[in-house]
């Protein structure tokens, strides 16, 4: 009890609770942020965009467990998002299950799949692990594209709303979906924190720093790594299920290597190893991506001389270049930059006093 009380009284917890409260209240407020949101905060368009931003933030949190905590570079994380969205979509279309039981089944399947695939891919480490995860995601992508009688192939799988509760369907209920997305993000954050602070979390962090030393201590690295990989996969699958309901469907793009790369870019820009960096990075990325596309299409860019106009009109070129610059010159990402500014100021204050 005392521990819980002291946890609640910590300033960071209070700030978090305050932020969550503000986020939760957005759908009933009337705030306009021109240039970032398409309309006032209560409008379905804005809520839809914000909910998507929170889902990508949650996805980034799940990837944080892999790269930030365990130091595992996976190029196939999108597979689990697709497993959640396609699994739920197919169950709702082919069977008469209600939404919740279907979600429980998909959760169990994702748990098993993440465990098995994790077991196979963790037979290798480091860069080889990255290649193997990429290959698995590629196989999943092929499965989805080829079996179009279940997945609807390239066109994408629409959500069958027959067994989805009414309060989650329709434009007027976007605010309910927004709240669901908020809950998912908070849960993902807590789950990531919990895994990170568990025994397994500490061991994988130690393995990330020096695997040989951990082996010498007599600990086998496979088991804690498998826990981190499985937890990350299941979290991504949950995000995928909510994604299906929020976007009223899913498409093969959600399993492409591009999605995993996007999440990777988010993590690196936010700062590898930082939970807040991952979560906020994911949200900012979704909002920024819209602006970047608009920027690339703006008439000012078109009027520039050709050698500037061609690169600047490609959003991915701008993103890739920012990414390279951050990896080269800003190793801690933007979270690291923030930390450095704060600690620099503290050091200055100390000097003054």
């Amino acid at each position: 009890m005392e521990r819980i009380l002291s946890f609640i009284k910590r300033p960071s917890t209070l700030v978090s609770i305050g932020l969550i409260a503000v986020m939760a209240l957005l759908p009933v407020l009337n705030i306009s942020i021109p240039g970032i949101l398409p309309g006032p905060t209560w409008s379905p368009g804005s809520l839809q965009l914000l909910a998507l931003a929170m889902l990508i933030g949650s996805m980034a949190l799940s990837y944080h467990l892999l790269l930030g905590v365990a130091g595992l570079l996976s190029f196939g994380h999108a597979l689990y998002l697709a497993m959640g969205s396609y699994g739920l979509g197919i169950l709702l279309r082919e069977t008469n299950l209600q939404l919740l039981p279907a979600m429980v089944i998909v959760f169990a399947i994702a748990l098993l799949a993440a465990f098995l695939l994790g077991f196979v891919s963790l037979q290798v480490t480091g860069i080889a692990f990255a290649m193997v995860t990429l290959a698995f995601a590629q196989a999943g992508s092929v499965l989805i594209r080829r079996n179009s009688q279940f997945t609807n192939g390239e066109e994408g799988l629409p959500l069958n709303i027959a067994n989805v509760p009414d309060f989650l369907v329709g434009v007027f209920n976007t605010r309910n979906l927004y709240w669901v997305a908020l809950i998912v993000m908070v849960l993902c954050f807590l789950a990531a924190a919990w895994v990170e602070r568990s025994r397994a979390g500490h061991v994988v962090a130690a393995i990330r720093e020096n695997e040989l030393r951990v082996r010498v201590l007599g600990i086998k690295p496979l088991q804690p790594k498998l826990i981190a990989v499985t937890a990350a996969g299941v979290m991504a699958a949950v995000v995928g299920m909510v994604y299906l309901v929020l976007q009223s469907g899913t498409s093969p793009e959600n399993i492409s290597a591009d999605l995993t790369l996007t999440i990777l870019v988010i993590i690196v820009l936010g700062g590898v190893g930082s939970r807040w960096g991952a979560m906020i990075g994911g949200m900012v990325y979704v909002l920024l991506e819209q602006r970047l596309t608009a920027f690339a299409r703006s008439p000012e860019i078109k009027e520039l001389p050709e050698f500037l106009a061609i690169p600047l009109s490609e959003p991915l070129f701008i993103l890739g270049t920012i990414f390279i610059l951050v990896v080269l010159f800003l190793p801690g990402g933007f979270a690291g930059l923030g930390r450095r500014i704060v600690s620099g100021r503290k050091a200055k204050l100390k000097e003054l006093s």
């Binding site: 130091g71 570079l73 196979v120 891919s121 037979q123 290798v124 480490t125 480091g126 860069i127 080889a128 990255a130 290649m131 193997v132 990429l134 290959a135 698995f136 590629q138 196989a139 092929v142 499965l143 080829r146 290597a257 790369l261 990777l264 870019v265 690196v268 061609i310 690169p311 009109s313 490609e314 959003p315 991915l316 070129f317 993103l319 890739g320 270049t321 990414f323 390279i324 990896v327 080269l328 190793p331």
Partner: protein, 292 residues
């Protein structure tokens, strides 16, 4: 029987393309521990450079076509050397960051090539003989398959000879075996780093020109598609082993074609299952020496 021969030769041709990427990947990884995600971009860039030559002077005669191949290879080698000098070298020995920076480079370079040449495929043609067929035991086989196989074998032999008989080759082989020892002996391995990138880029660039003959077009995305299978080939063959990559490329290409034809389009899946099997039974790959 005819179908089987056609499938085998086509599979070997596809395997040749995989090898042209995987050889560079494998050498780079073996020597430097760098997973090069931008290697597909080297291939694409080589393909576009060859296409530009073909558009300017034509590629109907053999000298013109060979010039296109040389320019494509040179473009790939130049791109790769610059990548090593400007992006990989500052992050020396930080493998995850190095892999990440090549991810950024592949995003940016594919987008840039899309901006310059457009996202749609550009159709190319080569010497007329490449679009004809040769009959072997009743099977009618398009000639470009033979060009691919010949190109890959030539590159393999050239690379092996280079590694075997030159001083730089010796340093590279020693570096793959034990890099810290080579450095401790006072040999500057950094030149070798740039060199492996250049060699890998050369093979990929030539692969780009050949791939555009095989597919009949170049597009900004051909490199990315081939790269994923090249990764698989590299792992199955054993990281750092050229001969392993060649064997694995042939197996993967042929298996993919056979499964696509006889098992209802399951080629990609079979390859991934093969990868999983190799990882479980022999994590170092066919000819790899040590696990990384």
């Amino acid at each position: 029987m005819e179908t089987l021969i056609l499938l085998l030769v086509t599979g070997l041709g596809l395997g040749a393309l995989y090898f042209l990427i995987a050889s560079g990947l494998s050498l780079i990884y073996g020597l430097m521990g760098v997973l090069n995600f931008a290697h597909g971009s080297f291939l694409t860039f080589g393909g576009f450079a060859g296409m530009e030559i073909a558009r300017r002077i034509g590629a109907e005669t053999w000298p013109q076509f060979i010039l296109a191949i040389i320019v494509g290879g040179a473009a790939g080698a130049l791109f790769a050397s610059l990548t090593e000098l400007l992006l990989i070298r500052p992050l020396y020995l930080r493998h995850i960051e190095q892999a990440l920076i090549t991810v950024g480079l592949s995003l940016a370079s594919v987008a840039l090539m899309e901006g310059i040449w457009g996202a749609d495929p550009i159709y190319v043609s080569g010497p007329a003989i490449l679009s004809e067929v040769t009959e072997i035991a009743g099977a009618r086989i398009p000639n470009d398959r033979f060009l691919l196989i010949f190109g890959a074998v030539a590159i393999l032999v050239g690379m092996l000879a280079f590694l075997r008989y030159t001083r730089f080759g010796l340093i590279i082989r020693a570096g793959v075996e034990n890099r810290s020892m080579v450095t401790a002996l006072g040999i500057d391995v950094r030149t070798a780093f740039t060199l492996v990138f250049a060699i890998g880029g050369l093979a990929a660039g030539i692969g780009g020109v050949l791939a555009s003959q095989y597919f009949g077009y170049v597009s900004p995305h051909i490199g990315g598609t081939l790269l994923i299978f090249a990764f698989i080939v590299t792992i199955i063959g054993g990281l750092g082993s050229l001969v392993g990559a060649a064997i694995a490329a042939a197996i993967v290409g042929v298996l993919q074609q056979l499964a696509n034809f006889y098992l209802g389009g399951t080629g990609d899946l079979i390859v991934v299952i093969l990868l999983a099997a190799v990882l479980l039974l022999r994590p170092t790959g066919l000819l790899g020496k040590r696990a990384h």
